[in-house]
Subunit: 355 residues, 2 copies
């Protein structure tokens, strides 16, 4: 049947919902779908054609996904975009988390607005080669909830893809909300025909997070999106000993801050402590963490990023941590991961051509 | 107009979509909505009546919400349920995170299945007074993605409310996914008529998380759900000094584990260090954190729970941290928060009657 699906409750001899005679043939008389069929537009979604035209100038499309929320997906998307831009690529960052957009904050673009030209919606630019689009730029009041059901979210995602004028891009990084629902189905359906290079999945080391990552990998396999790799974030906290606050439990059970005393005490009695890093696992990774999960599921492991208060602060302030000397243990880890990602032949070669 | 909405594209003299003559009156001839109106069921959603009957045996309904994911909402829901059950209340915990259910894992109920009786679906019981319902119990393969758009998720949530036989409950705790979309609109619409006591909103201290909490508070205000209070989770890491791993940066730039050496060194040179706690902020709360946000938005602040590796481990293993002596700094903090919550007159008084 070339003329589209036949609804379950259709009359006999239904010509198909996509047929020119849908809703109009003799067989349609009395069918409950008659009105809808007669008036609905026919043929492939014309929006996909427009999206295809927009995406013709975008070399690589990378989705950043996570199973669970709060694993640092937006932080990673932001830092990846900063890093690619620093390598002189033309980069676009598209935030499709409609109900909880974090990207404007993470690139220090709060309060910015989208401008419209005859070419379409203009992204907000951090630098000349790093443009950003998010619903965050469209909300008159940042505190207001965006209480939207799926179809409305999907509509905006489609509009982002149809109406944003990115110009020539080496990379379009798409930051998705957690899960495997409307936004994810929509972005894949809209971009499928234009080619998605693949997805990076961000997780934390605990089992409870890895359960959801497995679901995300299964989602990618089902919809035919390649998994470029998995990043384990918040993989332990490592800080200079001198950055900690020290607390003493008193006989009353109350805790007192003894940081100053401890610093003096260390200087005097145990000076060698002062140059050390103290590390804590924070999130249990006794199950083997993301590396083991990747092996089991046959997807690449890109590396671990430690829980780094400096990275958290950089994300809060919209700075690049990748290039910032102030960043602690996370900067070299992020750098390694991005290098590993760009070793991917398909990404690297043609990006080089374009850079 | 008592007969429902009039669609924008309706004919003149439309009797209204909920009218008995919808789709059948003279005015309906040729209207594009005629078929739909003539066949669609009329009157209030009959499911709401069934839900009302089910909920008649439930004294208190509490939603646990968060703006961002990964802030520990499910961990809090689980620990709250454990705590209420330990106080001898009859407790039900309903997980409406359809695409990423964490609750089965967090109550050590993985692999359990839902049974059906002539009373409806039976929750899975942790103890005789703590029953749990989650899509996690319905998936043949826990790794498989649940790739569902909104309407299907809403359908399951409705079914949970209609078909689960909870029996007499003092508290029904509803663990929602992050955000303000389908699941949230559905649960509020379905439970509205039966009375929702209110919502607890969980957050972490960073600005990027607080932005989303403001949206969640705005959601509650818009849909008329009272905010019982805000919990600040992962509010700094505090651990015994002896629980840390110590790393030394060598001249080559590599880091070596010197934990054993440091422990001996402390014992010998600085024994007073051994009884201290070392604390790190981890997530930047320089903006004043949740307490300040609560003040600004006029909602109660319930307290802070530190980032506690023991709590994370308890959550991973499905144990109650609230009662467990092994739990570190988080147990007393959680206890205080739950006491503060139960000070709420409306919750406490009638729960006492029922306990």
């Amino acid at each position: 049947m070339e003329n589209g699906d036949i609804p379950e409750n259709a009359n006999e001899h239904c010509p198909g919902t996509q047929s020119e005679s849908a809703g109009k043939s003799d067989a349609c008389q009395g069918c409950p779908n008659q009105e809808v069929c007669a008036t609905a537009p026919k043929g492939p979604d014309p929006d996909l054609v427009t999206i295809g035209e927009r995406m013709a100038t975008v070399k690589h499309k990378i989705l950043v996904l996570s199973g669970k929320g709060g694993v640092g997906k937006s932080t990673f998307s932001a830092q990846l975009s900063f890093a690619l831009a620093a390598l002189d690529y033309q980069v676009g960052l598209l935030d499709i988390d409609i109900c909880g957009p974090s990207i404007p904050k993470m690139l220090a673009l709060e309060g910015q607005e989208i401008h419209q030209s005859n070419l379409g919606w203009s992204p907000v630019y951090v630098e000349s080669n790093l443009g950003v689009m998010s619903i965050g730029f469209m909300l008159p009041n940042p505190d207001e909830a965006v209480i939207w059901r799926g179809p409305r979210k999907n509509g905006l995602i489609k509009q982002f893809l149809k109406d944003v004028y990115w110009g020539e891009l080496d990379f379009l990084v798409v930051d998705a909300p957690p899960g495997t629902s409307d936004e994810h189905i929509s972005i894949v359906q809209c971009l499928d025909a234009t080619g998605i290079d693949g997805a990076i999945i961000v997780t934390t080391p605990q089992q409870v997070s890895l359960i959801d990552v497995r679901k995300e990998v299964s989602f990618c396999k089902k919809v035919g999106v390649k998994v470029l790799g998995v990043v384990e974030n918040m993989s332990g906290l490592c800080q200079p000993v001198t950055d900690f606050k020290f607390m003493k439990t008193m006989e009353t059970g109350e805790q007192t801050d003894v940081t100053e005393w401890v610093r003096d005490y260390m200087r005097e009695k145990a000076p060698e402590m002062l140059n050390l890093f103290a590390c804590s696992e924070v999130f249990d990774s006794s199950g083997g963490g993301a590396a083991k999960m990747c092996q089991e599921m046959g997807v690449p492991f890109l590396g671990k990023v430690p829980l780094d208060p400096q990275l958290c602060k950089a994300a809060e302030e919209g700075r690049s941590c990748f290039l910032d000397k102030d960043c602690g243990a996370s900067a070299p880890a992020l750098k390694k991961i991005i290098e590993k990602l760009l070793e991917n032949q398909e990404l690297a070669i043609s990006a080089d051509n374009g850079a």
